[in-house]
Amino acid sequence: MNNPNSNSRISRRSFLGRAAGFTFILATGVVVPNIGDKNNDQKKGKELSIWVHLAPDGRVRIYNPSAEMGQGSMTACAVLIAEEMNVDWKDVIIESSPVDPENYGLQWGGQLGGPMMTVGSRTVRGYFNALREAGARANYVLRYSASRIWGVPTGRVSTEMSKAIHSDSGKTITFGELSGKIALPTNLDNIKVPLKDNEDFTLIGKDIPRYDIPGKVTGEAQYAMDIFLPEMLYGVMQRAPVNKGRPVLNNKEEVLKGHGVVDVLVMDYGVGVVADSTETALKAKARLDISWSDAESSDYDSILAYQEYERLAKSDQKGRSISSKGNVLRAFETATEAMVCEYKNDFAYHAQMEPLNAVISVSPDGKRAEAWVGSQSPDNARRTIANVLGIDFYDVNYHVCYLGGGFGRRSMSDYVEEATILANHIRKPLKFIWTREDDVGYGAFRPISLQRMEAAIGGNGNIMGWKHIIAGTGGGLLASGAEISYYDIPTQLIEVRSIDHGVRTKHWRSVGHGPNKFAIESFLDEIAYAQKEDPYLLRRKLMHKSPRELAVLDKVAEMADWGNNSSNGRAKGIAFAERSGALTAAVGEISLDSSTGRIKVHRFWVVMDAGLVVQPNNAIAQLEGGINFGLSNVLHESITFKSGQVQQSNFHDYRLLRISEAPESIECFIMPSAEEPAGVGEASTPIVGGAIANAFLKLTGKPLRHMPFTAEKVKEVLDQSM
C-alpha cells in the first residue's frame, strides 16, 4: 500500500475550506504525494478532495482511512465513495489515506475528525454517511466542471460509469478527460448534494471482490514484517516474565561479543538486542542472562483466583452497575423458585498470525523518523514514535501496512514504542520483531471472569428477576455484552466487580461479549431445561417486545429445522447475541466422543441483521470466520498464570482450531434491511460459547460452565454424577 504521509504538513496547508467533513484542495499538482516510493513520479491529475484523486487516464484513487486486517473495510470504504461518485469500479485504485486524524479520523458519532482507530466493528457504520457524502461531492464537482465546459446548467448533467453526460444533447465526457478541467464552484461548502436512494445502488450491497485479495494469493501483499531497507538491522527484546519486572543484565559484554551482535540495550522492563540478521538477534537473545525484580503480579495464580472471584461475586460489595431495573430484591423474595449458576472463562490470547513488529528508521540527528507499521490505531502509533523521540507528529513519515490480523491487539502501541526506543538508540533502520513466544508471553489478554447468574422464577414459570454479577480481572473490558434489553425480564441487576492483579488485559474480538453472552445464553438454556421448556420458545417469549431480534431468532430456527431433533448422537443448541448494532442468532450442531470428551462440531446456521450490508459476500466471510474464531476460543484457548507468569508459549500449548475441527458447513443468512449499517466483524464470535454449551446440555443433560470446553474438562463433567 502506498503511504502519503511525510509531506502531510504541506498537504494540510493545501486543504482549504472545510464543510460537512469534506475538505477541498485548491492547490494543483501533488497534494497527497506518494512519499513511500522516492522514485515515484509526482502524481499528475487532480485531487478532487482529500478522499479522491482523479488521474488523466481516468484512474480514480480512493484513500482508505481504515486499517485493513482481514475484515475487508478497505474495499467497503472505497465502495461508499465510488457508489456516490458513479465511478466504474474498474477505474478504482485504493490507497491508504494519510495518518491524519483531523481529516481522516472518526468520532464515535460518525463525524469526521476523531481518532483513526479500526476497532469495535465501527469502520463501515462510522464512515457510512461521511464517505458517501464525500463521493457525492466529488460527483458534484465533476458535473459542475462538465457543465462549465458545455455551458449548460449543472442540473442537466448526469453521470454514470466514469462519464458525465449532458441529458439534453447526449454529449459525454469521461472523468479522465475532466481531470485537467476541474472547476470548483465558489459556494461549494454550502451546496447540498443529494445521496442516492438505496434502490439506485450499483455497488453498495453487491458483491464487489475484495481489493486486497489478489496480492494476498501471490504473496505480494506487504505487511510491516516484509519491509527491508538498505543497511537495516534487526531488533528483538527479552521482556520480563512477570509484568513490570525490572531487569539486571549480568552478561552484557559477553553477549556483545557474539557474532553479528551490534548492540544491547537495557530497557525498563526488558533487554533489547540489535544484530545483523533475525537469526543472530534471536541467538543473542537466547544468551542473555537477566535477573528480574519481583512485581505486583508475582504471586498471581489465575486458576486459584477463581475462588477469589467467586467470593467477590457472592459478597454484597458494590461494583460498577451495568443495568438496574425494577426491584430485584423483591422479585427474589416473592419467587416460587430461584436458580443460581456460575460460569467461568479463562484469559484468551489474540494469536494474530503475524507477530507484532515494526520497521523504524530514525535520522542520525534524531529529528526525523520513518516508520512502517501495521496498527489498528495508526495515529496513536505515529504519535507514540514522535513522543519517544520528542519530535513533531508530522516529522514521522509513517507508512501504513497491511495487518496480519489485529483482533484488538494491534490497537495498542507497546511494540511501536519499544521499536522506537531501540531504533533511536542505534539511529539506523531497524526491523523490530516479536517472536511468537514474546507475543504469547507478553500478551495483553481478554479478561478472565466468573459470572454469577441468578434467576427468580414466578409461579407462572416466567423469569421475574435477573441478577448477573461479573467478577474478574479486566476492569471495563468485563462489561460489554452484559445488557439484555431485548429480553423482557421485569427486574434486573447487572454489575461488574473487577480486581486488578497487575496483569495485562485488552480488547479481544468482541471484548466482554464472548464471556457474557456465553453466561447469559447458557443460563437461559439451563432455566429452560429445569422448567422443561424449549429453549427457542423461551427466548421467543422473552423477545416478544423486540420484533427485529425475534425475526432473526425465528429465521435461524427455521433454517436449522429446530423443531426436528438431530439424530445419530447429535444435538443442536441455539443462542443469540447483539454486538456493535448487529443482531445475530446461531444454531450449532454437535456430537460427542464420550470416551475422550472431545466435542465435534458438525454444522452451524447463522442469521444476522446488520442493517444495510455494504459487502454481503464479505460479511458472510466475516460470519464464517467469526464462528471458527469463536469455536477456537470455546474449545481450546486458555492462558493461565502461575506466580504471575504466563504458562503458555506458542501454538503447541496455546491450541487454535484446525481445519479438521471446523464445522462441515456454516450456513449464513443476512436479513434484508434498509436500516443504517451495523458492525459486522465481531457479530458471530460471541454466540459460539452459548450455542455449543446448549447443544451439549441437550445431548447429555449436563451443563458446560467453564470455557474453554477442552476434552479434558468435558470428560470431567461427563464423569461427575449429577
Binding site: 471482490p209 485479495i213 494469493v217 505487511y223 537469526e279 490480523g405 501454538f651 481445519i659 462441515e664 456454516i666
Partner: protein, 154 residues
C-alpha cells in the same frame, strides 16, 4: 557454509550458517517475503514451501539440508499465469488478513499434485497443519474443490 540448490527453477548459491533455517534465508537474505514467519516451531504452517515437491515448514529446515534440492515458494508457484489454486482462492474470496495464505496455498497446491480430486476428509487431513486465525477454513475447503475443477478444465 556455501551451498547450492534450485530455487523457483533457478540454480542459486548461498552463504549461510549451517544451522540457519530456510525461512530466514528466503526472507532476510533473498528477500522472498511471501513465505511468512509466525511460530518458528513447525506448528502453524505459515512458512510452508515445497522441497522436492513436498510441503515442508521452512522454519525448521536447516540450510545444510538443502544441497541440490528443489525449493518452490509462493513467488515461484505462478508461472506467468496464476496457479489454479490461486485462481480458486480469488474466486472463493478466501483470504482475510492473508498472513497465513501463502502457506495455505502451497500446502493445497501440493495436495492437488498427488490427488486431483480430494474428498473433504482428505482435504482436512492434508491441510490440518496450517492454521488460519481469521477462520477462513470454510472457504479453504471450497476453494480446493474449485481448484480441482479448474485443473480438470485446463
Amino acid at each position: 557454509m556455501r551451498t547450492t540448490f534450485i530455487l523457483n527453477g533457478r540454480h542459486i548459491e548461498v552463504d549461510a550458517d549451517a544451522d540457519s533455517k530456510l525461512l530466514w534465508l528466503l526472507r532476510d537474505q533473498l528477500k522472498l517475503t511471501g513465505t511468512k514467519y509466525s511460530c518458528g516451531l513447525a506448528q502453524c504452517g505459515a512458512c510452508t514451501v515445497h522441497l522436492d515437491g513436498n510441503p515442508v515448514r521452512s522454519c525448521v529446515v536447516p540450510v545444510s539440508s538443502l544441497k541440490d534440492k528443489e525449493v518452490l515458494t509462493i513467488e515461484g508457484l505462478s508461472n506467468g499465469e496464476l496457479h489454479p489454486v490461486q485462481k480458486a482462492w480469488i474466486e472463493e474470496q478466501v483470504p482475510q488478513c492473508g498472513y497465513c495464505q501463502s502457506g495455505q496455498i502451497m500446502q493445497a497446491a501440493a495436495l492437488l499434485e498427488v490427488n486431483k480430486n480430494p474428498s473433504r476428509e482428505e482435504i482436512c487431513s492434508h491441510m490440518d497443519g496450517v492454521l488460519c486465525r481469521c477462520g477462513a477454513y470454510t472457504r479453504i475447503v471450497t476453494a480446493i474443490q474449485t481448484a480441482s475443477k479448474i485443473m480438470e478444465d485446463e
